[in-house]
Symmetry: C2
């Protein structure tokens, strides 16, 4: 285990050539946050505002698409972290999105960061909104992907959709993400297979899997979020990039339109023939758009 808070790729800032570090090879580090060990991975050029990746239901570090992380790490210092009680991070998964956001804030503070960009995918996007509302000065820019606002349409159905697709996955002996994240068109099916392959690119030092208990707690937290009274999103004055597939079955795409309408400084990107995992499927387009958005 390397020392916390020292990017594995900090050689990039020195005069010697940087070692080849990528999402598939970057070391997993640990930092103590109020006495709980959080695991994270960080690399990319030092300097500038780091991008903190906030993960989705059931996801550990190994669930980020290598193309998306590597893509942003080409220009930015990136930091991906496991939520409390998830994968390699210690403690118990909190029962609310709000408490997950408080954990993320505590992690960012513990890392000694004064300002970050946030990339929140799905549940991570819920968390990002809370961070932006509660600690606006901590955040520079926000990417909200495959996500929606509190009380958003159909978010209380995530449990049902996850159940149904888990049964399908069991019967078809496939990864449920293939149905949950992608369209069932020929293109979507092909892309889902490529995505699952990419998630296997990291062969050593993989993260611990999420526990069944943590997964269920997250499901309940998402359900509650789906039934929460809508927040006033006009207070989030940060630049926000909202991105999704046009046919998201988990957090219906109408939520992305809703976010873009209610956030005063939002840009919207909707990918055709793509689902919840639209930013992974269309990673080339997304990385280009995200890098442009984060510049300056």
């Amino acid at each position: 285990m390397t020392h916390p808070n020292v990017p594995h790729s900090d050689a990039a800032a020195s005069s010697t050539p940087a070692p080849t570090v990528s999402w598939s090879t970057v070391a997993t580090q640990t930092i103590s946050v109020d006495g709980t060990a959080f695991v994270y991975r960080t690399y990319g050029p030092a300097g500038g505002t780091p991008v903190v990746f906030l993960n989705h239901l059931g996801a550990t570090l190994d669930n980020w698409d290598p193309r998306v992380v590597d893509g942003l790490a080409a220009e930015h210092h990136v930091i991906a972290v496991d939520n409390r009680g998830v994968g390699g991070s210690g403690g118990t998964t909190p029962a609310t999105i709000e408490d997950m956001a408080h954990d993320a804030i505590a992690f960012i503070d513990a890392m000694g960061l004064n300002m970050v960009d946030l990339l929140g995918f799905s549940m991570g996007g819920f968390i990002a909104q809370i961070i932006a509302i509660e600690r606006p000065a901590l955040v520079r820019k926000i990417i909200l992907a495959g996500t929606g606002p509190a009380g958003g349409e159909g978010i209380d159905k995530v449990t049902r959709v996850t159940c149904a697709d888990s049964i399908t996955a069991v019967l078809r002996r496939k990864d449920p993400k293939q149905n949950l994240f992608f369209t069932r068109t020929a293109h979507g099916i092909a892309q889902s297979r490529e995505f699952i392959k990419r998630l296997g690119e990291r062969t050593t030092d993989r993260d611990k899997k999420i526990s069944v208990r943590a997964f269920r707690t997250q499901l309940r937290a998402i359900h509650t979020w789906g039934l929460t009274e809508p927040a006033d999103l006009s207070v989030i004055t940060h630049p926000v990039l909202v991105a999704n597939g046009e046919d998201d079955r988990m957090v219906p795409t109408s939520n992305s339109y809703d976010l873009a309408r209610r956030l005063p400084n939002a840009t919207l990107r909707i990918y055709p023939d793509a689902g919840h995992g639209g930013i992974f499927q269309e990673h080339q387009q997304f990385v280009t758009t995200a890098l442009e958005f984060l510049r300056g």
Copy 2:
């Protein structure tokens, strides 16, 4: 495909030694039932009352424990069949247990059988009850395993339990039947692995898997059964063997006690440290008991 209705093992009734036929090797046959092709497998000594096996949620022919079928086939002509729209059987899965029973009756009639014994496991046990009520003269004896009456306690929770355990199965990369059919004790876990292994013993001519659509229709039919007004079981005057594990999470064991109490001619066997798949886990005990029950 062999000719329908001719048991593969009919040599057993002749003077030459019977070929070694077992559940893992017996041929799959097809019979037209009112224009729909039903697949089935049959073997065991000719003569006497044949035992018709009625299958559970999601199950095809390949889901019967070889030890149980071979055990009963040692003394009885056995016939296992895929419900309409399941596995290799044609047509569309009906939305009610009653219609599944009508299909089973039509199959038995098409096979030219005047009287049968029934072994109904779980959903198959629901079907067996309807057959016994609607066509009492067609049935001699009944084995009801891991099952319950219409409106039975907790049967409307089968969908929820199946969902939860499918998520668990996906996260743990296991077969959901390991949780659904067995206890989580060391003994139950070990037995669940043996069961899954036994289901793989047949290596050729395996059945088609159930479709997601058929599985969902069955789930709805089971849910409806769980909410149905209780039937008068006193009209089922047949000898009935009720068997289950003591800790059935799918069709709670209280339903087995309830059946044994309400059926006027019932014998009850409850297996300790066993779940829904109790008759598979304790196949030696069960086969001994079942053979004794079916004799005479």
